[in-house]
């Protein structure tokens, strides 16, 4: 009787182990869809979802950039992307940033929608949202600027207007989770 109980217990234990392993493997497969990747360059560490990938920005000021994988067009250009750039500050930081957008009203290809202050990490930041028109393609951009060590850092999120809002949460997540070293 006692042996039977022991054997039954062992069988139960093995069954539980297999069940737990199966559930864990299933959860693991689910997690694969939403794993978080890390990108660290130039004193900045960002975390982004695995359906985005590291990209190469054309801008000379770019530190790092990522693109949404399913937004890459036939030419290999990431239409939904986040580009992190930095540039030495010339003069006052606020004036430096403002001067970037000063000419926008005079160019019909750009339309400055909003500007204001925000916080990134524990730093004061400036935020600009504008649209651009490149060969008839309307794109929306959100730029968040902050200063560190005499350098103006900017995180620019860009997407076609119809995809801007639906992917904005990724940019917001990156902003909320960024590590500035």
């Amino acid at each position: 009787m006692k042996n039977k109980i022991i054997i039954a217990g062992i069988i139960t234990l093995i069954t539980v182990i297999f069940l737990v392993s199966g559930v864990s493997a299933d959860n693991n497969n689910t997690d694969n869809k939403t794993t978080i990747q890390t990108l660290s360059k130039g004193g900045l560490v960002i975390h982004y979802p695995s359906d985005w990938g590291v990209s190469q920005a054309k801008s000379n000021y770019s530190i790092m950039s990522i693109s949404k994988l399913n937004s890459i067009d036939g030419a290999g250009v990431g239409q939904v992307n986040v580009n992190v750039e930095k540039k030495p500050v010339e003069g006052d930081f606020n004036s430096f940033v403002n001067s970037t957008y000063m000419s926008m009203p005079y160019d019909s290809a750009f339309n400055l929608l909003s500007s204001g202050e925000s916080i990134i990490g524990d730093r004061q930041a400036l935020e600009y949202i504008y649209t651009s028109n490149d060969n008839g393609m309307e794109r929306e951009h959100k730029a968040v600027w902050f200063e560190k060590g005499g350098q103006a850092y900017v995180l620019l999120y860009s997407a076609p207007i119809d995809q801007f809002e639906q992917n904005l949460y990724v940019f917001d997540y990156i902003l909320s989770d960024i590590q500035i070293r």
Binding site: V20, A25, K41, V77, M102
Partner: protein
């Protein structure tokens, strides 16, 4: 043997009385009681063994000589085995009886099973860890796309065209003096032309913005200057020619 048993029972009963009367503590009572019970059990087992041996026709005290050589513990164990064999499990034969051996077998089987379970659990744990292990690099260097957007866009500032053409011809004819010979005709032609052409400035970044605005200012200033120059030049030229004609006319008049 029965004397010892009776004596033990008597001691136990007196122990009970002492405990109930409060002469000894509960702890001591439990200790002595368990001790006496053990002794009582041992006596019972010994009695049973002797009875069995007598039933088997063996000597009632076969181990009398060996008693001193064997440890008391082995003896007790043997007695318990015998009790187990012939009293508790009398129907089982010797091969099946050996509980100690059987227990050993079961213990070995149990150990093997336990080790198997542990190995399976360990394997499952390792597999779970491997599945959850993030084998990807912390920084993925594989470039998947190109990003053309930049926070320093190329902005083409187009200034509205303003053309201002002011051309005026003024002819002053001063009245002649009463002296007909001294007719003085002064003709002044003032031409002012101010033209601001389309200015298209492609600026990229702040420094270019600031330089473009200074360029615009300079060109405007230049335009103004040239306009003044042209103005004064034409005026003076006109004036000069006028004087010339005046002098000519006066000369003519004189002639």
């Amino acid at each position: 043997m029965s004397d010892d048993r009776d004596k033990l029972l008597h001691i136990m009963s007196s122990l009970e009385v002492d405990y109930k009367s409060g002469k000894i503590s509960a702890e001591k009572y439990r200790y002595f009681r368990s001790k006496y019970e053990d002794k009582l059990n041992a006596i019972d087992a010994r009695d049973a063994t002797q009875r069995i041996r007598s039933m088997q026709g063996k000597a009632s005290t076969p181990n009398t000589t060996k008693k001193s050589s064997k440890p008391a513990r082995d003896k007790k164990k043997e007695e318990q085995d015998l009790v187990q064999k012939y009293i508790i499990n009398p129907k089982k034969d010797d091969a099946k009886y050996n509980k100690k051996k059987k227990s050993s077998m079961n213990s070995t089987t149990f150990r093997v099973l336990a080790i198997t379970v542990l190995v399976i659990a360990f394997t499952a744990g390792v597999a779970y860890g491997i599945f959850n292990l993030d084998t990807g690099p912390a920084s993925n260097a594989d470039v998947v796309a190109i990003v053309e957007d930049t926070a320093f866009p190329e902005i083409s500032a187009v200034v509205n065209t303003t053309q201002l053409n002011d051309t005026s011809n003024v002819t002053y004819v001063e009245d002649t003096d009463d002296d007909k010979n001294n007719q003085e005709i002064e003709t002044t032609t003032e031409t002012t032309t101010q033209t601001t052409t389309d200015t298209q400035d492609s600026s990229q970044s702040n420094s270019r913005d600031s330089s473009s605005s200074s360029d615009s200012h300079t060109s405007s200033s230049d335009s103004h200057t040239s306009s003044s120059d042209s103005d004064s030049g034409s005026s003076s030229d006109s004036h000069t020619s006028s004087s010339d004609s005046d002098s000519g006319s006066s000369d003519g008049g004189g002639q």
